[in-house]
């Protein structure tokens, strides 16, 4: 690598680092955003600490064999037990990993598809753009839970498949947003100049358009995660997912089908439900704050 290259790279990284800390600083003054960040840190630590709180084997059906079923919280089981005597707390902490993984992975899929479609639809003209827009329209209009359901039924019920299916059904809105942003960006003088100087499309997209839309993509991704987590919990509740490695939604499914509600075994269904609310709130508050920070026109929302 040439020396000048290295220098440029260092400069770029420096700028990115400063931008990152700048955003953090602004977040501290945005109360909802800051609360969201704190909540998120909490859940992140919760997921990381899973092995410290409970052994993975507590998820196995056999682990509950010698325990009372649907037992109320006690010193031994802080969150009681489920219908086959497994520790609810263990499932809750390990479930945080499943829920977060599916939420984040689905978002990754959605953001990649959405960015590519949005960038190309905004940058290309004519037929390509029209076709992409038509596809986008289709995915915007078709009700996405039924769509995710039929996809999951056909493609398979594992958590990984679920994540892909959720991602595949949630990109349409971001593609729309990103396209709009690209359209305004390409009007800017420096993009036009780069084009006039004969820079290739890919170069222009990477050097000029992508940095311009990156903040939008980040804020948008932060807002897709909570929707993906909600969708995951809904699909799990409806029977998809894995009972032996349960997400929070899957726990609610267990709570519902085991009749824990009729006997009011609140320790079984309250914690996973509250966790879902908490994590969704956290991502949503953070995402909206990022939107405000990146786009000052939204201040005061």
């Amino acid at each position: 690598m040439k020396n000048s290259d290295r220098l440029i790279r260092a400069m770029i990284w420096d700028r990115r680092r400063r931008a990152f800390f700048g955003v953090l600083r602004e977040l501290r003054h945005d109360r909802p955003g800051f609360i969201g960040l704190l909540l998120l840190t909490f859940f992140g630590l919760f997921a990381l600490a899973a092995p410290l709180i409970a052994d993975r084997s507590a998820l196995l059906a056999a682990s509950g064999r010698n325990n009372p079923d649907l037992a109320a919280p006690s010193a031994k089981f802080l969150f009681g037990t489920d219908e086959i005597g497994r520790d609810v707390l263990a499932q809750l902490v390990w479930g945080s990993r499943v829920s977060l993984f599916i939420g984040l992975f689905a978002t990754l899929v959605a953001v990649v598809i959405g960015s590519v479609v949005g960038l190309v639809a905004g940058y290309a003209k004519g037929k390509v753009s029209a076709v992409l827009l038509a596809i986008d329209d289709f995915f915007l209009v078709v009700p996405f839970l039924p769509l995710a359901i039929v996809l999951a039924v056909v493609l398979g019920r594992s958590p990984l498949t679920l994540a892909i299916v959720i991602g595949f059904t949630s990109w349409a809105g971001s593609a729309r947003l990103i396209r709009a942003q690209v359209l305004t960006l390409r009007e800017r003088a420096y993009v036009e100049r780069a084009q006039a100087l004969g820079a290739g499309s890919w170069h222009v997209i990477r050097r000029h358009v992508l940095p311009g839309v990156a903040p939008l993509i980040i804020a948008n991704a932060t807002l897709i995660v909570p929707v993906a987590i909600l969708t995951e919990s809904t699909l799990s509740f409806l029977g998809f997912g894995d009972r032996l490695s349960p997400s929070w939604g899957k726990l609610l499914d267990g709570a519902q089908s085991s009749g824990s509600i009729t006997i009011n075994a609140w320790w079984y269904f309250l914690p996973p439900g509250l966790c879902i609310i908490g994590i969704v709130l956290a991502f949503t508050m953070l995402g909206r704050a990022l939107e405000r920070i990146f786009d000052p026109r939204l201040r005061g929302r």
Binding site: D137, F138, L140, V141, V142, P143, F144, L145, P146, L147, I149, V150, L151, V153, V154, L155, P226, L230, S233, T234, F237, L238, G239, F240, G249, L252, A255, Q256, I261, T262, N264, W266, F269, G273, I276, I277, V280, L281, T284, M285, G300, R301
Partner: protein
């Protein structure tokens, strides 16, 4: 609104529906190599049974032959027979449709009216105590899966107080007169309806609030105030009609979410509509049923969007010229 606009929108709706139909074929006949493998919990079919099934489901011949058969049957609203009950899918759907229409219809209307009201008021008085309280509440509502609301209502309202039935469409075996029957059904409707309404109220309120805040900076509101109008008049005559515009299409898209929400809500309350049928079809891998339900849900949302486009044209005189 011009005829051209209407024609264009109706045409667009039919086109989208056509894409749904094709997509459905693609998914269930091409991506899914062997739909029969899922028949009845994969219990082994004898070769003869398999032959019959293949013929009955139109899985013979080339993919193109299959496609022609499929499209014809879609036009006849013939979706085959349920893997589960072995009854014609159309009959199963017809039987359950009214209950779901009632639930989704009432909930949608409630959600729209309450959500828009709250959002309007919060946006107009941005930063007020009402705004802060309602926005926080909307965020929490938005973040809560509707079926969790259902579970809470079941456990803490129906379970504790006994004021409401815990599920079903009506009291089985009860002997009511006409009015009593209606009241009984409404009684069963309350909690599912509340669940669905609470589940989607938040996003509607947030959409409308944002829209309202965007409108607040408009010059014509200054004009209206300069004319000596009261605050409430400026809001209702000038701000709201404009703020509604961007909300209309977002709201139409959100209607799809309520339809999705009916699936889990009906499951929680064992409310025998199409949502519960969907949940059962998932459990049983009932492909014919799922295909039909998916197409029906899509048709419903496409229709919602078409209605929204027409309403939009009535609300915004500029549509005439744009199109």
């Amino acid at each position: 609104m011009s005829w051209r606009y209407l024609l264009k929108k109706v045409g667009g709706a039919f086109l989208t529906m056509a894409v749904v139909v094709v997509f459905n074929f693609f998914l269930f006949r091409i991506v899914d190599r062997d739909p029969l493998a899922k028949y009845r919990g994969r219990s082994k079919l004898t070769p003869e049974q398999r032959e019959t099934m293949i013929r009955r489901m139109g899985l013979e011949g080339s993919k193109w032959d299959q496609f022609v058969v499929y499209v014809k049957s879609v036009f006849r609203l013939d979706f085959g027979r349920s893997f589960d009950s072995t009854q014609p899918v159309l009959e199963e759907i017809k039987m359950r449709l009214p209950a779901t229409l009632l639930l989704v219809g009432v909930s949608t209307l409630l959600t729209i009216f309450i959500g828009l009201y709250i959002g309007t008021k919060a946006g107009w008085r941005r930063g007020s105590r009402f705004d802060k309280a309602s926005t926080s509440a909307s965020m929490v509502l938005y973040s809560t899966p509707e079926f969790f609301f259902g579970m809470l209502l079941l456990a803490f309202v129906a379970g504790r107080t006994g004021w409401f039935p815990t599920g079903g469409l009506r009291t089985v075996g009860a002997d009511h007169d006409f009015v009593g029957n209606i009241l009984d059904r409404l009684h069963h409707l309350v909690l599912p309806m509340l669940t669905l309404t609470l589940g989607y109220l938040g996003s509607y309120a947030l959409i409308m609030r944002t829209s309202m805040i965007e409108t607040l900076g408009e010059d014509y509101l200054v004009t209206a105030r300069a004319k000596g109008l009261k605050d409430s008049e400026v809001m209702s005559r000038h701000a709201v009609p404009n703020a509604l515009l961007p909300s209309v299409s977002l709201i139409a898209i959100s209607c799809g979410y309520i339809i999705g929400g009916a699936i889990t809500t009906e499951t929680v309350f064992s409310y025998p509509g199409l949502g519960l049928a969907t949940a059962n079809a998932i459990q049983n891998n009932d492909l014919p049923m799922l295909q039909a339900l998916f197409m029906l849900a899509s048709a419903a949302v496409i229709l919602f969007n078409l209605i929204a486009d027409i309403i939009y044209a009535f609300l915004d005189p500029r549509v005439k010229r744009v199109e």
